[in-house]
């Protein structure tokens, strides 16, 4: 009887009482396979329930049902159509009635129950859109026949036992529908509850079909749309395409033209769909668009229709920086999935500033942090409603997570130390373990799907009238840069007829930086040196950077001491001037000429003079110091010349200007401290030129004689009060100069010189005479050298020391090389020293050096303890300084040693 034809398809019961009917059947070996299974499972279930493991029952039940069905198949048991389904339904209902709550297995069980019920419904013609015919009615009756409902206990409280419920479900079309939907919804909600969205979606799809049959298109749409989201998100093309097709049919049925359009767009661009379908739906789109009023806008997702492959900024130069207000160009690579070309009225990409100015950014982040500590919920869906907030929040997250993907483990090293600070343990700690190890169920990832919202397109990159061909397209977009910052391309909008296809650009979205370049102030001199004492043209310029400079911008220039400046249109020089600038556009350099005049005073050498100019910088709110070096246009030098007792002042005026010659006039030299030196007078020895032209090559030289009214003679007999003073004399040279071309007014040049020791105290006259009896000096013979020292003015230092310094290759000094003489005894002192010339020829005389001899205090010892003080130049006039003497070669030497005269 075991594999007899299946006659009884009553399900098992989880009643606590042992099913004695089945048990006796077993004893009599009169039971079917199903009976045996039923019995075994009911026992098993009974025990599990009494052990309190109710949830195990549903788990095992599912397996049990599957296995038994499989068994029936394998054994090729003959059974009536639908009988197995009835049995499954009964069993499932029994278990579900007896287990409470949702768990993994009840969801699957509900779903299984739903499947089987649907099969039954189809068999019996109870599904919507069908009418049960007589054979189907007959089937129902015969199925009920095998269902021994008397074996079920009546339940209290109007609750139906499985048999009753199933019978009711199959009793009429209406109640079938009600029961089926009920069960399906339970299955879906159970699946959702345990996080198996995908399974729920599968039921949803079938439910949608059911609703479609029942003409409840709206419900069907809801389920289809939900499923579609899942499929598209996970990239199951075939599935999403099927769903799309279904959805399109639904929308068409209820005449939801906008949604229908959107769906059509998706199908038309779905690579999984057949070309036929795609073209058909493309035609549908065109048809629908024709029906639509021209002005309306329909927003659709461009996710699959037009894919953005890349967006790159085109720069004319590599180092070009994008500055506020400048033009931006982007090349967009688009992939159109539509089967046909479309003429787009415009393609735009919205731009979002992702980084505000640095200072501001810090403060906002800080605020945000504080906010998050206060526990403000920043769920992405909330944040994404406002693009700028979102970017900030993201940034904040990044700084918190130190830029990590939240899905990645955030590992940290942690070292633990013992009390003596030695390492005790090192470990790696995962800070976001709960996030990483969380079971990835399909609910979390799939459900978040923000509705596409058109972004702000007011300063977008745009291109108009573009034809998009199927496949790859390159589009050039143009835009204008906003204020400084980093911008992200956030969304693309493709406008085609009334359709606006929107797509958010993926991460990492292309960005571009708008940088601000600060204007720079420059002060330029021309290619020539700046000259002091003459006005110089400078150009003050502003490199505008990225700024637009309005006309009338004022920059003040302050000069240091001795320097004055004027604007080109002014005539007066002043220490501070305000320079007005014309308008300037970005990257332009605007300049204004200014003139500076540097004082030329008392300049005695060619060294340049440094001056500082302070220029106010309106952008950096500070002043900058620029130092300028001026070459003197003119400078003068001074020389005190001596000729015996006469003193001459030579003044030279040099010119350093490379280009111009100067006309100098009114040259005069005056003694400044005349009252202190009444005896001194200056006598000009210059010709009476009215003017003299000097240039770089030609200096002007002037000569004055310094005349002292105290003559040497009158001085000699005078007593102490007429003593020569050491008072320094100060003279001042004044002259007026003007450039020869007359471009500048006449200016005065002054310089003062101070000098001392302006008297010749001693004169020295030296000569070497031939040895006695000889006409000429001959080498290697002793010759007397006569030195005459004469005092012209009384000098407190009357002890003098003379030295004879001779080139040792030419002269040998045979007498005393040096000695002290006391000149006070006689005004003239004659010294004779024997010298011997060593070679022949014109030999310069040995030099005689005269120094003040200051004996050491206390001991009138030798030279070693005394001090020699040199005279200053001009005090001693050596009359025979450059004299030479003709020396014949020694007589006893060969011709070859003769030195030629």
């Amino acid at each position: 009887a075991f594999n007899l034809q299946l006659l009884d398809w009553t399900g098992f019961s989880l009643d606590k009482n042992i099913n004695s009917r089945l048990r006796t059947n077993i004893e009599r070996c009169e039971l079917s396979l199903l009976d045996l299974r039923n019995y075994l499972f009911s026992r098993q279930g009974g025990i599990l329930i009494s052990m309190g493991k109710g949830d195990q029952v549903s788990k095992r039940c599912l397996n049990f049902l599957h296995n038994t069905l499989q068994e029936l198949n394998i054994m090729e048991m003959e059974c009536a159509e639908g009988s197995k389904e009835i049995w499954v339904c009964l069993c499932a209902l029994e278990v579900l009635n007896n287990t409470k709550g949702n768990n993994l297995h009840t969801a699957a069980l509900w779903s299984f129950l739903r499947e089987k019920l649907l099969v039954l419904g189809k068999l019996c013609g109870l599904t919507p859109g069908h009418k049960p015919d007589s054979s189907q009615l007959h089937l129902v009756v015969s199925l009920f026949g095998g269902l021994k409902d008397e074996r079920y206990l009546k339940l209290e409280n109007n609750q139906q036992n499985p048999a009753e419920r199933l019978k009711e479900a199959l009793s009429s079309q209406h109640s079938f529908e009600k029961n089926y939907l009920d069960i399906a919804e339970t299955a879906i909600s159970n699946y959702k509850h345990i996080g198996r969205i995908r399974s729920a979606r599968l039921i949803g799809i079938e439910l949608a079909e059911f609703y479609l049959d029942a003409d409840q298109v709206q419900q069907a749409i809801a389920f289809l749309a939900d499923s579609l989201k899942t499929f598209q998100f996970e990239g199951w093309e075939t599935l999403s395409m099927r769903t799309l097709l279904d959805l399109a049919k639904c929308y068409k049925l209820i005449n939801e033209s906008e949604k229908y359009l959107r769906t059509c767009v998706q199908i038309a661009s779905c690579p999984g769909a057949s070309l036929q379908d795609r073209e058909f739906y493309f035609r549908e789109i065109c048809k629908k668009l024709d029906e639509h009023p021209a002005g309306s806008k329909i927003i659709a997702s461009a996710d699959d229709t037009v894919q953005v492959l890349s967006a790159t900024q085109i720069k004319e130069r590599l180092d070009e920086t994008t500055v506020p207000g400048c033009k931006i160009k982007f090349t967009l690579e688009l992939h159109s999935n539509l089967p046909v070309d479309i003429e787009c009225s415009s393609i735009e990409v919205s731009v979002v500033q992702s980084l505000p100015e640095p200072e501001r950014k810090v403060s906002t982040v800080l605020e945000d942090r504080r906010a998050s500590r206060r526990g403000v919920n920043r769920s992405p869906s909330v944040a994404s409603s406002n693009a700028s907030v979102f970017s900030l929040a993201e940034e904040e997250d990044e700084s918190e997570e130190s830029g990590r993907d939240p899905g990645k483990p955030h590992m940290q090293e942690r070292l633990e130390y013992k009390q003596d600070k030695s390492l005790y343990a090192a470990r790696l700690v995962c800070r976001n373990a709960t996030k990483v190890l969380k079971r990835k169920d399909s609910s979390g990832t799939i459900l978040k799907d923000g509705q596409l919202k058109p972004a702000d397109y007011c300063n977008a990159l745009t291109a108009s009238n573009v034809t998009l061909y199927p496949g790859l397209n390159k589009v050039e977009l143009h835009g204008k840069a906003g204020v400084q910052g980093i911008y992200t391309l956030s969304q693309i909008r493709v406008c085609w007829r009334q359709l606006s296809l929107l797509e958010n650009l993926g991460v990492p979205a292309p960005t571009f930086t708008v940088a601000r370049e600060e204007p720079v102030i420059l002060l330029n001199k021309g290619d020539t040196e700046l000259l002091a004492g003459k006005s110089n043209k400078l150009s003050l310029s502003i490199y505008c950077g990225s700024e637009n400079i309005e006309a009338g911008l004022e920059i003040s220039v302050t000069c240091g001491r001795g320097l004055t400046a004027r604007n080109a249109h002014d005539s007066e020089y002043s220490n501070t001037i305000t320079v007005k600038f014309p308008a300037g556009s970005p990257f332009e350099t605007i300049s204004v000429e200014i003139w500076v005049l540097c004082l030329l005073e008392n300049k005695k050498d060619a060294n340049s003079i440094e001056y500082t100019v302070k220029i106010s910088d309106p952008w950096r709110q500070n002043t900058m110091d620029i130092s300028l070096n001026f070459m003197p246009a003119l400078y003068s030098t001074f020389n005190l010349l001596t000729a015996m007792s006469k003193k001459f002042l030579q003044l030279k005026v040099h010119c350093l200007d490379q280009k111009l010659s100067y006309r100098i006039s009114n040259v005069s030299l005056g003694l400044v401290n005349e009252e202190k030196l009444p005896e001194l007078k200056l006598e000009s020895m210059n010709d009476d030129y009215s003017e003299l032209v000097i240039s770089k090559q030609f200096e002007g030289a002037f000569l004055w004689q310094l005349v002292s009214s105290l003559s040497s003679g009158s001085n000699s007999d005078s007593s102490g009060n007429n003593k020569v003073t050491d008072q320094p004399a100060v003279v001042m040279l004044t002259l007026t100069y003007t450039p020869e071309d007359g471009s500048e007014p006449e200016r005065e040049f002054r310089s003062t010189f101070q000098f001392q020791d302006y008297r010749t105290l001693y004169t020295i006259f030296a000569k070497v005479e031939p040895a006695k009896g000889n006409e000429f000096c001959r080498a290697s013979t002793l010759c007397p050298m006569k030195i005459e020292v004469e005092q012209l003015y009384p000098d407190p230092h009357s002890s003098l020391f003379y030295e004879i310094l001779a080139d040792q290759t030419q002269w040998a000094v045979c007498g005393k090389q040096g000695a002290v003489i006391d000149i006070q005894q006689s005004v003239k002192e004659n010294i004779v020293v024997d010298v011997m010339p060593l070679t022949g020829g014109h030999l310069p005389l040995p030099t005689v050096r005269l120094s003040k001899y200051i004996p050491a205090e206390g001991r009138g010892g030798g030279l070693g303890s005394a001090r020699l003080d040199p005279f200053s130049i001009g005090q001693v006039y050596n009359m025979s300084r450059t004299q030479q003497i003709h020396v014949l070669p020694p007589a006893n030497q060969g011709q070859e040693f003769l030195s030629l005269p």
């Binding site: 198996r196 399974s199 996970e234 599935l239 399909s442």
Partner: protein, 129 residues
Amino acid sequence: MSGNYYFVIVGHRDNPLFEMEFSGSGNREARKDDHRHLNQFIAHAALDLVDEQMLRTPNMYLKIVDKFNEWFVSAFVTASRQRFIMLHDIKNEDGIKNFFTEMYETYIKQVMNPFYELNSPIKSAAFEK
């Protein structure tokens, strides 16, 4: 070994990488397209169960994870968490396990290909063997 099989490799982002359908006996490729997408539906729904089970067992081969009408769903998870899912209508545990291991080897070869990017659909003749 007769019966129908449907095999799919699912990537990290739950996207199908490779699909194949075959039947043990003769050429019954001429099955309706409708059926094929039903397979996908089942495989897709079974992902939930695979995700759940792979955390519970150290084995790569997960055995049968789901049943759907006449279909059984077996799964295999690679070391890199790629999921192989097999729909079959008869029980053939050893055969399927062998198939999975074989597939795994082929898959590893594919992954070692420097031109292959993880998680992208597999287009390879060798795979279709």
